[in-house]
Symmetry: none
Subunit: 195 residues, 4 copies
DNA sequence: TATGAATGAGTCTTCATTCAT
DNA sequence: AATGAATGAAGACTCATTCAT
């Protein structure tokens, strides 16, 4: 695949992402993609042979995990408390882009692909997030910023809560204010205060 | 609609629920329902004109909310701490019946019907759960069983976490042990100990 | 399936046979059948879900085997010599209906389904023809009408030759005269004379 | 067309033959050829504009006729009986290479192209085989090796039988033993004994 | 009320064929 | 000569929905 077709592949991915954001996962047909891209049916099949394949390519590139977010924010003066806050706020921003993010599609995709669970990027991201947050909490405890008896359980609880916020935002709607209060509460459970 | 028709309608709902539990929401066709019920296509249309209509009827009857669970467990000697534990265990039981509950189907339904949010039974149930748990926490604080500064925020956080557990169980899988640890952690955040 | 739909099924089979006679096996599409029957695509699928299924139904009804032909011609005064002649002439008649028989389609079908060989009606018919002709030859030898050292080998040879005539008629064309001469020759190998 | 092009054309024919042997005639697509040759779609079209054209080129080169086989075996000491045996054995060898010969593809091709019969190489080969075998039989009769009243009819019968064996091998399967017995029987009809 | 045959629109998928480079 | 991306037509198959009985 030459430079040119790589370009086209990326173009398709770009357009398809928009479609998945708007319509979720299951509702998307190859025709939707074809129409969004303005290419021929056959043309699309040159690059992707199903919406599933296409979607997997997209989420492979998509997931912004805790590691990345935290790493980006970390410098020598950043405290664990600040990092936690940055992470939660990043999640908030993602959640609020409701029609502009892939969570609905991702959930649908996962419901449909329960069987082949272990190798999918979302589950990997969840596991890695738990690990990363655990490390962050342990750091915070050691530096006496964070108050926590059971860092692993706390990390898991946090990740489940964030998944809950994502899904609730999709299904029932959450406002910026709802999320701010939630962040404040979570910070409080670690003995941290939002300034 | 006479008694006989009502009886048949309930029969259809019953069978359809099983179908939705097994296949989710979007994947279910009118034919699936017809086959499960052993009735004719035309016959089904006399009662329900789409899977959506049928599904809405089902979830209207479905939701076991916190109020019901807590009310069932309450008697004059039950402490708020015990009620909290009972509630969390009820959730655990529901979550573990993974292929035998409607959550996957409900999530799918909601993703597909974001627009008509406010009148959907799930959002009503979430609101009512928050209220009910808030009351429980306030009771617990007053009776000095529970330790909590901000009962409303705590109730919301708990509901979001449970939504997160439900969805994670569907998409990534959770074991009984995972849930026990999570329950223990949650109880701990209220200063409660699982015996 | 009620009387009415059985009637329709037979109607489809009837029309489909004409299509297979005209176009062979592989070239026939569900659309061809639909057009020939003047019904809708979906309608056809109610009865048959592939051209293969339809074709198998047709050839199941189709094969006129040696047993049937010979049985039909047999009465107490019929000699083995006559029966042999009747059988060969029946084959001749079938072969000459070139565009009106299914042999081309059957050969194509068999080429495409070599794997599942043993249970197909054509192979069964070939085996049964060999047996039937062997019996006929043995009868003929016993009654001193037919001259043959190895009835089984002779029966096989005859069946192969007839298959060869069928296929040659399809691929290269054979006239009534070609077939008459061939029948005369075959009769001769058994010491029989065509009157 | 220069030497280089001719070389490439032959290369394509070579590879395509393998494809036709494996997949028959109708099932072969231009893409199959392209893949087998490792050339581009456009490149193939420079040489052949359809699978039909390509296939006709192949069978034009293909046929090993009786003339060639018999000529190859003939030397001054070879008897007609031996030549007959050599010819039959050559056919046997061809027939047993079931997935490695073109007969299935050729039959399919002929079924699909009945119209343009007279100029097709198969019918020419059949005619020439009949002639060649007739000559052989006549020779044999003159040299008192072969016993036959009607050499032309016998030659035709033999050719039809061999066509029947080819097609039966493809559709129903024939073993080496089946063929040996058949050869023995055929030799017997000419008063010849297989040693 | 109830049946189930029938329809036709919609989607998926594959291929021969073209054409700019 | 050669490439391979792109097209669009053709066929398979499924479903929601209707309607005569």
């Amino acid at each position: 695949m030459g430079d040119k077709s790589l370009h086209k592949k990326n173009y398709i991915i770009e357009k398809a992402r928009e479609v998945f954001q708007k319509k979720g996962y299951r509702a998307v047909t190859m025709k939707d993609i074809v129409d969004a891209c303005g290419i021929s049916r056959g043309g699309l099949y040159l690059y992707f042979s199903s919406t599933k394949e296409l979607f997997e390519e997209i989420i492979g590139q998509e997931e912004k995990d805790a590691k990345t977010v935290i790493a980006a924010a970390r410098d020598k003066d950043t405290t664990p408390a600040t990092l936690m806050f940055v992470y939660l706020n990043e999640q908030k921003k993602e959640i609020l882009k409701k029609n502009d993010n892939l969570s609905a599609a991702i959930f649908e995709y996962l419901f449909e692909n329960k069987a082949s669970k272990n190798d999918n990027p979302v589950i990997k991201r969840i596991r890695s997030d738990i690990d990363e947050l655990e490390k962050l909490i342990i750091d915070g405890v050691e530096q006496e910023w964070i108050d926590c008896d059971n860092p692993k359980a706390a990390a898991k609880n946090l990740v489940y809560t964030i998944e809950g916020l994502k899904v609730t935002a999709q299904t029932s709607g959450l406002t910026a204010d709802d999320l701010d209060k939630e962040i404040e509460y979570i910070m409080g459970t670690f003995g941290l205060v939002v300034e």
